[in-house]
């Protein structure tokens, strides 16, 4: 086996008036944007769905459960195709949305089911006494949620949410299938054009790992900042 490194490949021109390095950086930007937007969608929707699954209303619980089952039991790639091919055909308004938005929605909804599971588990891990105490103080149920349950529950679920945020970075790679110009798409196309697969894949893989590690550190910092002393890993 005769292999020679050829990192100069990144200085080559793509034929589109930029180097492969510039393209790699813009692809990284797309990965970060898809992941960031999808994280917002997933955390907002997941928090709402996770919360309603703990309410006393059986209908809200059923809707929440159905939501989670629906988005958990279809592969992400199939969900992306649903958003990309099926939904615009059924709902004509969606036709004009760019692929980026559709992928963000697909990834966001997919992840929201997982976030909802974590949020529900977080709320249910609090003792019943917290709810009763809130209600006994004269708070309404929504007030109890906002001022008593959710502030504690969110702190508890930060570690599992960290791994969900890291999963979103990894899962954003599936966007290659609908030609969003993110890292994996770059990897496939640059490999094809330059035949320097090893260098291209190494660079892309490195960027994925760097991104995931950065998120991990940021979330660890958040966890440290918001912890309540003397409670759930709150230290001393």
């Amino acid at each position: 086996m005769n292999f020679r490194w050829e990192w100069e490949v990144f200085l080559r021109d793509t034929g589109g008036d930029q180097t492969y390095l510039a393209w790699l950086m813009s692809a990284w930007g797309w990965t970060l944007s898809v992941a960031a937007c999808a994280t917002v969608v997933a955390f907002v929707l997941g928090s709402v769905v996770g919360t309603i699954r703990t309410t006393p209303s059986p209908w809200l619980v059923r809707i929440g459960n159905a939501w989670v089952e629906l988005f958990r039991n279809i592969p992400l790639l199939v969900q992306i195709f649903l958003w990309y091919h099926v939904i615009p055909a059924v709902i004509p308004v969606m036709k004009h949305l760019p692929g980026f938005v559709l992928v963000v929605l697909a990834l966001g909804f997919f992840t929201s089911a997982r976030v909802a599971e974590q949020v529900r588990a977080g709320i249910q891990s609090l003792s019943k006494g917290q709810t009763y105490a809130g209600l006994a103080m004269g708070l309404t149920l929504p007030q109890t949620y906002f001022h008593v349950l959710l502030p504690m529950a969110f702190r508890i679920v930060i570690p599992p949410l960290t791994s969900e945020a890291m999963n979103i970075i990894k899962n954003s790679s599936v966007a290659f299938a609908v030609s969003v110009a993110e890292l994996t798409m770059f990897a496939m196309q640059a490999q094809e054009e330059t035949s320097r697969g090893v260098e291209v894949y190494l660079a892309v893989t490195g960027l994925y790992i760097v991104t995931a590690m950065t998120i991990n550190r940021i979330m660890a910092y958040v966890e440290k900042r918001v912890r309540v002393p003397g409670y759930v890993g709150g230290g001393n």
Binding site: V78, S172, S173, V174, F176, A177, Q191, Y201, T205
Partner: protein, 222 residues
């Protein structure tokens, strides 16, 4: 695009396009599950051993696999396997090897938790009876670890089944590819993808219901 037209979906289509893809998806899931659990158990034992020459390689392997997107792992193996074997193996073989290697990392984390869930007393009792390390593992620890972790292992297998759709990246012919090809042939891509989603949902939902029942059963006996 008007209303959905599902009339193209008939038995002919199933036998022509779907069966082949479905069988490959199942084959890939089963091979990667068995291979992944065996390799994963080995990795877990390495990580729980007391030799750093076993701990470090296994830890690095597991953490690397778990921090790279599966699609990239699929691409890496597809690129590198011909370097090792000297000739291209084709997308299907490449997928079988990739998924076994990739899932091993995830199964190993489950098996590690399973082995650690067996109480120390069991291990000490085994040694006190004069069992060797391998007898202890084979006869006492692993059967209990496996049993405790069965629901989690099966849940991971459902995730694995969903992930098999990602062989799309190298063009292997799986269930999703079957639907896509059928949709192209009948010029009905929208309906084909919708049906694909329904079929995947039915399979995964039924499997996870079974796992939930099993979980309740195991929890009682434990």
């Amino acid at each position: 695009m008007g209303a959905l037209d599902l009339s193209f979906f008939n038995w002919d289509l199933v036998t022509k396009f779907l069966i082949k893809g479905f069988l490959f998806s199942i084959e890939l899931t089963v091979v990667a599950m068995i291979g992944g659990i065996l390799l994963g158990t080995l990795l877990a034992l390495m990580r729980l051993s007391s030799h750093k020459w076993l701990i470090y390689p296994a830890t690095i392997y597991v953490n690397t696999m778990r921090s790279i997107p599966l699609v990239m792992v699929i691409l890496w193996f597809f690129l590198l396997i011909p370097f090792v074997t000297g000739r291209p193996l084709g997308a299907e073989w490449s997928a079988l090897i990739t998924f076994t290697a990739f899932e091993a990392a995830y199964y190993s984390e489950i098996m590690r938790a399973g082995i650690q869930s067996v109480s120390r007393g069991q291990v000490s009792a085994g040694y006190a009876m004069g069992f060797t390390y391998s007898q202890n593992m084979k006869l006492i620890v692993l059967p209990q670890a496996f049993r405790n972790m069965l629901p989690v292992l099966l849940t991971q297998t459902i995730i694995l089944f969903q992930d098999t759709s990602l062989v799309y990246a190298v063009g292997a012919y799986d269930l999703l590819k079957g639907f896509e090809t059928a949709g192209k042939n009948f010029n009905r891509p929208v309906e084909a993808f919708l049906l694909a989603a329904i079929v995947y949902f039915i399979i995964c939902f039924s499997l996870s219901s079974v796992v939930k029942k099993l979980q309740a059963k195991i929890a009682i006996v434990r």
